[in-house]
C-alpha cells in the first residue's frame, strides 16, 4: 500500500476550503503525542456546500474505496452526506473520511473541541484536542485504543 503523504492530502482539502476536523493518530501526533499512524482520519461537515467542496477535493485526489481496489469505486456525494466511514485510497495515500466518529459525534460537536494549527505555507487545519481524543478512545475501549492511551494521557499531563 502506498504510504500516506499527509501534507499533500491536507493541502488539497484546504485548497478546496473543506470544513473538517483532523482526528485519530495524525491529530494525536499534531497535539504532541509521539505515536505513529499510517492514514489520515478526518471528520467533515455534512452541510450541502461543504459536501460539494469535499467531492471536488476527492476528485483531485483521485480517491476510491480501498477495500475494493480491483473495482475502484469512487465516493459519491450522497454517501458522504451520511455518518458512515469511507476508507479511501488517493494518489497521496490512504484517507479515512468519516461522517461521524464511532461514538457518534460529527463535525459540529468535534469542531467545538478542536484547535487550529498552522502547518506552514499557509496551511491551517483544525485538529481535535487531546482531551477529546482520549475521551473518545476511552469510550471505544478497543484493544488498539487501550494500547495508545498511556502515551496520550501522559502527553496531556506534560502539555504546557
Amino acid at each position: 500500500m502506498q504510504p500516506a503523504d499527509f501534507e499533500t492530502i491536507l493541502k488539497v482539502l484546504a485548497g478546496h476550503k473543506v470544513d473538517l476536523v483532523v482526528v485519530g493518530g495524525v491529530a494525536a501526533t499534531l497535539q504532541g503525542a509521539p505515536i505513529t499512524t499510517f492514514d489520515l482520519d478526518i471528520v467533515h461537515s455534512r452541510e450541502e456546500a461543504n459536501l460539494d467542496r469535499l467531492m471536488a477535493a476527492l476528485r483531485e485526489l483521485d480517491a476510491w474505496y480501498r477495500e475494493k481496489p480491483d473495482v475502484r469505486i469512487a465516493p459519491d456525494r450522497e454517501r458522504l452526506g451520511g455518518p458512515g466511514h469511507h476508507l479511501l485510497m488517493t494518489h497521496a495515500g490512504p484517507l479515512d473520511v468519516l461522517g461521524a466518529v464511532v461514538t457518534g459525534e460529527g463535525y459540529p460537536e468535534l469542531a467545538a473541541h478542536s484547535d487550529l494549527f498552522d502547518l506552514g505555507g499557509g496551511l491551517r487545519v483544525r485538529v481535535l484536542d487531546l482531551r477529546t481524543i482520549i475521551a473518545i478512545k476511552e469510550r471505544l475501549n478497543r484493544e488498539t485504543d487501550r494500547a495508545v492511551l498511556p502515551v496520550l494521557r501522559r502527553t496531556l499531563k506534560e502539555k504546557p
Partner: protein, 195 residues
Amino acid sequence: MARSRSSRPTAPRREGFRSWIPAGARRDGRPTPSLSSRSAAASSPRLSSAWTRPRDRWSRGWKSRRSCEAESAASTRCGSPRTASVTSARIRARSRRCSTHADCGDGRDGEGRESGGHEGLPRAYSAGMTERDDAGGWSSAPLPIGGGGGTGEGNDGVDVSLIRWFLSLSPAERLRVLQNTVNAISRLRERRAAG
C-alpha cells in the same frame, strides 16, 4: 590396536560446553539477566508505542562507528591521527566506548565529560540524528534514539523524555517527523519485499 570409535576424544557437545559455565554467569563474567526480567522487557508498553528506542549502547555504537569510519577516511580529527587501514573489528571495539570524540554520540568529550550533541537539541536525542529525508540528505528532524541516561520513564512504561521532546517541536515539525517515520517504514517494507 585400533581404538573403538566411541572411545575417541571428541569436542564437547554444546550442552556439555554450556554446563561449564556457572549458572547465572555469562562468558564475560557478568550475571545473566533473569528470564523474568527479559520477558518483562519484551512485554514493556514502550515497545508498543510509536518509538521503540533501541538499546542505548548499540544505537550509540552504530552512530559512533559511522563517525569513526568517516574520521578514519579523513585521517585526522580531534588531534588523533587515524588511517583507513584500521580494521572493522578495531573500529567496532573503539566505537563501543568512544571517549575521544564529542560528536560520536557517546556524549563525552576528550576528557570523558558529558557533552552535548547537536546545537539546540537535547543530547539524548541529538545523538541519534541519522534519519535520511526524501531528498537524500540528512533530515533536520532529530530522532529519539541513543538517549536515555536515566531520563524519566513513568510507572506506566511511557518514555516521558520522548514526550517532552515531541512537545518541544512545532506542529509542522511533528508532522514532518511522522511523515519521515512512515516513509522510512515503507522503504524498509519495500526492501524486504524485494528480497
